[in-house]
Amino acid sequence: MSITVPDQTDQPGRSRQWRRANFVAGLSILSVVVATAILSFFWTPFDPTRVDSSKPLLSMGQQGHLLGTDQFGRDLLSQIMVGSQTALFVGILAVSIAIVIGIPIGGFAAAHRGLVEDVVMRISDVIYAFPPVLLAILLVAAVSPGTGSAMIAIGIAYIPIVARVTRGASLSIFERDFVAAARSYGRGQTFIFFRHVLPNILSVLIVQMTVLFSLAILAEAALSFLGIGTQPPTPSWGRSLRDAQTFVQLTPRLAIWPGLAIALTVLGFNLLGDGVRDALDPKLEVDRL
């Protein structure tokens, strides 16, 4: 229809203000997480790995332990603080692995239709069909358990996801006339993908990245929970959850606080993703000024 209703996102309406509020909320949450991670490099209330059999399962506030201690007498707050390092580290590196390899693969598949595309996408389907946890177990068996292996396994598991999203979003952009125009003045497919297509699918990818980021943090927690991720004594949120298992009936607090840390960080990334997508859209620039 030749209807000329302005794009919904162009309006300073309620939905837009909501989205801005999301962005601010996401940014605030993540700032706290990042600040905590940085702070924990220099200072924590107690040594997070120090076992003190004289004070197991202290409740909140006792003897200066704000969140209490676990069954080994380790300070819970300090563990969560240091655990944020592991979470961010795994999240950033796993997602980086996935996008650095996945985006070019997806773009390559979209740029070369036909047999090449089929082969590339079927290979990625095979990897996709592998549960990440199984992949991690294989990798851990081959190398050694630890944060690094977990991170690489998660990264590899997410490559096909990124490749698929990139390919799907790129296909429609490759059909657009400005791509034909670029070809008509001599640009090659690789250049076209990085210069013309990628910027136009960035918003989709960023949303995907933030989702993967939170999934990676969850996956690391899951792997550590299973005991094949981060190894003791390095604190990790998943690790803390695993340790809390035995006493969860007695002191649910041991599971609640690390769980809350995971949930908040994941929420922060998701909220931020929405906001960043808006910020990258040049159509909204006028509005922002």
Binding site: M1, S2, Q11, R176, A180, A182, S184, L202, P282
Partner: protein, 537 residues
């Protein structure tokens, strides 16, 4: 035209505090046919949607819309559902998206019948067949079992008309019902629409930007501009003696071929001399479709089927044909975007047919695309868009001077280089696209439907610009269009294409004035004309 059916009084539509429609008032009698014309952004579609109560949620309508004594504005959604599809029905521009792709046509036509008239499934199905028959779809008994994608564009729009008329509505609103169709199909569909509306005693509101279409169908016309009514009255009076300057402009923008029944014979152009710049010999382009079933052989579509032509330096060469005739494929082969399956194409001594190096072609042949919304990278600034071909071709140095010169050549201010495409109107974007095409200083400019997506008055300006640039940059131009009147205006020689082959060629005056094939003749007779004569062609 006895009783009053619809009275719109001081209709205002706004988004936030921005008015989109302001103080629109008109009345419509029973059985009356009213045209609403205006360019994009004039508020014509919003006016129609207000009547249907289909405005998007973020828009507010105020004023009064009385339909058959009932106030429609402010009516509850449930009550509106009673009116919609029953007393008022609507025909949309793009039947492919307006029809449900996974529902058989017959079922879709039957749906409003069952809903509003309480017919049984069987009765509704029978009625659907009868309705399809009445809008001129052959073999309606089998067609009711088709899906939308199995019908042609014209058939889909006929089916839409059948659906709109199913419940015997008092008012039919048609929003650009034929804009997406080829001219020959348009003429037939408009004929059916008019005939059916008259036969059903329904009133019609026809919304379009196309003046000849309005004049052929309606008795009264309303001219909208920027959300306000600038003129209204009997169609022949408004178009014959426009009182308002804007209406005059619109009427003047109608190409000469559309104003009279007789094509003014263009004088024959100077005979072509020298060696051809473009030489196409027996070119075929076949596309292999994905096979539908494993055992069946893959279908082959012959987009081009033995095309040969020569284009000489300095001329404007027209290519006309309906959709699917292969004209865009021909264009894309000439700029090296596609390779022909067989045959030879030589552009300025460069062979573009075989697996040759296309690099040298890039600063010889450039293309302007149809849709300026899609042909400019939305994430790039204007300056970068225009400089891109220069960078691509490895021209060294600072391109800002060249960008400024090019912007000036297409009459755009130089200070827009830092802005993004979405900040410009369709006509402005097309200028930017033209500037980009001119950047490598090509000798051959191929324009594929360069004005089809633009408003009528913008078309005229853009055509004038192309003419002027052709002189200024000493270009040879290939002008591709489905619109014969535009080709007539700008081209010297022309070919007419049908299903991948050239059916007629020659000087524009000769081909359009004395067409030698019935296909060309039907194309010419189908051009909407202000006198409305084309409907009977």
């Amino acid at each position: 035209m006895s009783a009053e059916l619809l009275r719109v009084d001081d209709l205002n539509v706004r988004v936030g505090s921005t008015p989109l429609v302001q103080g629109v008032s008109f009345t419509l009698g029973r059985g009356e046919r009213l045209g609403i014309i205006g360019e994009s952004g004039s508020g014509k579609t919003l006016t129609a949607l207000s009547i249907m109560g289909l405005l998007p949620d973020n828009l507010d309508a105020s004023g009064s819309i009385q339909f058959d004594g009932t106030e429609l504005l402010g009516l509850s959604e449930d009550d509106l559902c009673e009116v919609r599809g029953n007393a008022i029905s609507m025909i949309f521009q793009e039947p492919m998206t307006a029809l449900n792709p996974v529902m058989r046509i017959g079922k879709q036509i039957a749906e409003p019948l069952k809903l509003h008239q309480g017919l049984s499934s069987r009765e509704a199905a029978d009625t659907a067949v009868r309705l399809l028959d009445s809008v001129g779809i052959d073999r309606p008994e089998s067609r009711v079992r088709s899906f939308a994608h199995e019908l042609s564009g014209g058939q889909r729009q006929r089916a839409m008309i059948a659906m709109a008329l199913a419940c015997g509505p008092d008012l039919v609103i048609a929003d650009e019902p034929t804009t997406a169709l080829d001219v020959t199909v348009q003429a037939k569909v408009l004929g059916v629409l008019k005939e059916q509306v008259v036969a059903n005693d329904a009133a019609l509101i026809l919304i379009t930007h196309d003046l000849p279409v309005v004049s052929a169908i309606t008795e009264r016309v309303l001219v909208l501009r920027g959300g306000t009514v600038v003129e209204q009255g009997p169609t022949d009076v408004v178009f014959g003696r426009p009182a308002d300057d804007y209406t005059t402009q619109l009427v003047d923008a109608v190409p000469p071929m559309s104003t009279t029944a007789n094509v003014a014979l263009k004088p024959a152009p100077e005979p072509v001399v020298g060696t051809p710049l473009v030489s196409v010999r027996d070119v075929h382009k076949h596309y292999r479709l994905r096979r539908a079933r494993l055992r069946e052989p893959a279908m082959v579509v012959k987009a081009l089927d033995g095309v040969s032509l020569d284009i000489y330096p300095g001329e404007t060469f027209g290519v006309v044909g309906e959709s699917g005739s292969g004209k865009s494929t021909l264009a894309r082969i000439m700029v090296g975007l596609n390779r022909p399956t067989s045959g030879s194409v030589v552009v300025d001594g460069i062979d573009v047919s075989a697996g040759s190096d296309l690099r040298p072609l890039r600063d010889v042949a450039q293309m302007v695309f149809q849709d300026p919304m899609g042909s400019l990278d939305p994430r790039m600034r204007i300056g970068d868009i225009i400089a891109e071909p220069l960078r691509s071709l490895g021209t060294a140095g600072d391109h800002s001077q060249r960008v400024r010169t090019l912007l000036d050549a297409v009459s755009m201010p130089a200070n827009i280089a830092d802005r993004y495409p979405h900040e410009f109107s369709g006509g402005q974007r097309q200028r930017i696209a033209i500037a980009r095409a001119l950047a490598p200083n090509p000798t051959l400019l191929i324009a594929d439907e360069p004005v089809s997506a633009l408003d009528m008055s913008v078309q005229t300006v853009t055509l004038d610009l192309l003419k002027q640039l052709k002189e200024q940059f000493e270009l040879t131009m290939v002008f591709i269009s489905h619109d014969l009147s535009v080709v007539h205006e700008i081209c010297e020689r022309v070919i007419v294409m049908e299903r991948g082959a050239i059916v007629e060629r020659g000087d524009v005056g000769q081909v359009f004035g004395r067409p030698s094939t019935t296909y060309t003749e039907s194309l010419i007779n189908s051009i909407p004309r202000l006198d409305g004569g084309f409907l009977n062609a």
